[in-house]
Symmetry: C2
Subunit: 361 residues, 2 copies
Amino acid sequence: MDSILIHGNDDLLGALQEAAQPTFVCTIASSDTGAIEGISIAGASADMRKYTPPADMEALFYGSARCIPGVAATPDGIPSPVIITMAALAATKLPVFVVDAGCEVPPQTPYFKLGGPPARSLVTGNAVDDVEGLYERGWHLGANLAKLTDYLILGESVPAGTTTALAVMLALGLDAEGKVSSTMIGGAHALKQAVVEQGFAAAGISKGSLAGDPLAAVRAVGDPMQAAVAGIASAASSVIPVMLAGGTQMAAVAAVMDRLGEADMSNVCVGTTRWILRDSDADMAFLAGQANCPRVYAADLDFSKARFQGMHIYEAGLVKEGVGAGGAALAALAYGGLSVDELLARIEAVYEATVLPMLRA
Amino acid sequence: MDSILIHGNDDLLGALQEAAQPTFVCTIASSDTGAIEGISIAGASADMRKYTPPADMEALFYGSARCIPGVAATPDGIPSPVIITMAALAATKLPVFVVDAGCEVPPQTPYFKLGGPPARSLVTGNAVDDVEGLYERGWHLGANLAKLTDYLILGESVPAGTTTALAVMLALGLDAEGKVSSTMIGGAHALKQAVVEQGFAAAGISKGSLAGDPLAAVRAVGDPMQAAVAGIASAASSVIPVMLAGGTQMAAVAAVMDRLGEADMSNVCVGTTRWILRDSDADMAFLAGQANCPRVYAADLDFSKARFQGMHIYEAGLVKEGVGAGGAALAALAYGGLSVDELLARIEAVYEATVLPMLRA
């Protein structure tokens, strides 16, 4: 399909196209890493960032958030990529499940509880509690879901998740410096690298020193989503294809899975957006390859001609991905059979219904 | 099948037999009603009762509980009916999901979080918080599960659940006095009735006074499981058959569903054990009929010739049902194609592996 950019073998895209009933699961978590000034713009302010993951989930279920008005947005009012996910899931009617791997504010939706409290900042070098438990409970959840669905799409909403991704990939020894994406233009690489180095010093680790113990890398400098999704995906991958739906966060999850050695990586792909795959300030495909997850598919969304100016900003390199937007869009295109123009029209309709009223308020 | 007792139309039993992939969901909750002396023997003591629901779920996932040793048991060491559910689910490999509608002690398994804290005692007349939220989130969960499975079996583990069932059925105007089952021989009807009357006085309600507002009945004198399962089952029943897997607790859930009017009751049945359907101290079928849920199927389990004396006690009228034991057993017989003797042998094996070591400890 010319609406989808394909990197690597397209077999798992074909499997999505022919799936009988794919399922969308979004894992959310928060961490004090997200409270570092300048690290993220997922949320109207650092204080509001804790509401972003639950607000995203509420929007998926109810059409708008409940813990905040409308939908989550950047400080400048650019809406969360949840508007893409909402449109794509409404078009495909995929079953939707939320996983709370450790949220400061729980969503007002049904959700799977897999974890405990939110993570500490990665600068502590001791970020995540009970990573083994998160992974184990994720494993059981994935094994059960794989009995019911023939294709699992796993999204995430974790503010500052690219910084914890960078930290974990470096701890595992990947060549990841300057290669993770960001909600921000330019990528804030220097800040992220400095934060990671602070975490490494606190944990007493160095690049590659935890290559043999991926859950220890998550425990030291990661976030709870990574352990939970690694568990869900590892269990499911031996039964059905699994799409890790996200940006460079998902390269970190794939690396954890690959190094743990309990997944069938030939059944795992990354599903994302063009804004991630073509991000000139990052290198998604290179990271995914190092994570032994060479299949990367990207929905070729183009907001430059959207009806609403507020959407054009995506083309400038802001937001890019999140809440499984790319994977959900791929489902709408490949499984749902929508054209990219039909999907764009549906995203515009969601924008009109949920974002315009916020801007006018 | 001669291993199944059938009350009413057998169409939903046929649907179970022919289902492609049934799913088992167990909803757990606790309430201070369970702390009333003499009201329940689900748990080794009133203090230990809060561990019974999580212990049951842990045993389903891991083969034995984690929050206590072995499996939950009565003060005399009679094991929880979870041993039946464990054997039946292992035989059928059904996907298993746990729903926490409000537990004092959360299970160490993956679980759906639908509710908040455990309920207050029904004697307060204000037992359950946020019943509308429980019902709504249950509804969304049921609607999503119904996209993935073609038969939903909904069990429960709620200590003192027959007392809250009695209270809700009376508030709805059902002829339920002296007709709910019990884990105890005789049924403790006088104590239950006295507790219910205390709750009615505190709530300022009388028999039938909440017939038009079933969620208000749950709020006043019910438990969180009732609202959650009513939501799950109501949403799913418009798409797929739903089996309410339990004893007279499930008659109360069916009554709530029927009076709310959002369920297709022709797609809802009760699945239970012979010990419930033939309980001479209760009247399951009469209650289910009043709840507009006339289909009641019961697994014809007979423990009188079990290899272990500890199982014979079930034939004396203790325990009887719980953790969806009857519904899971029906799945093993109708969907799994086991004979009742094969199922008994598997239950004996679970007893040998999990209960005998407890008795020897």
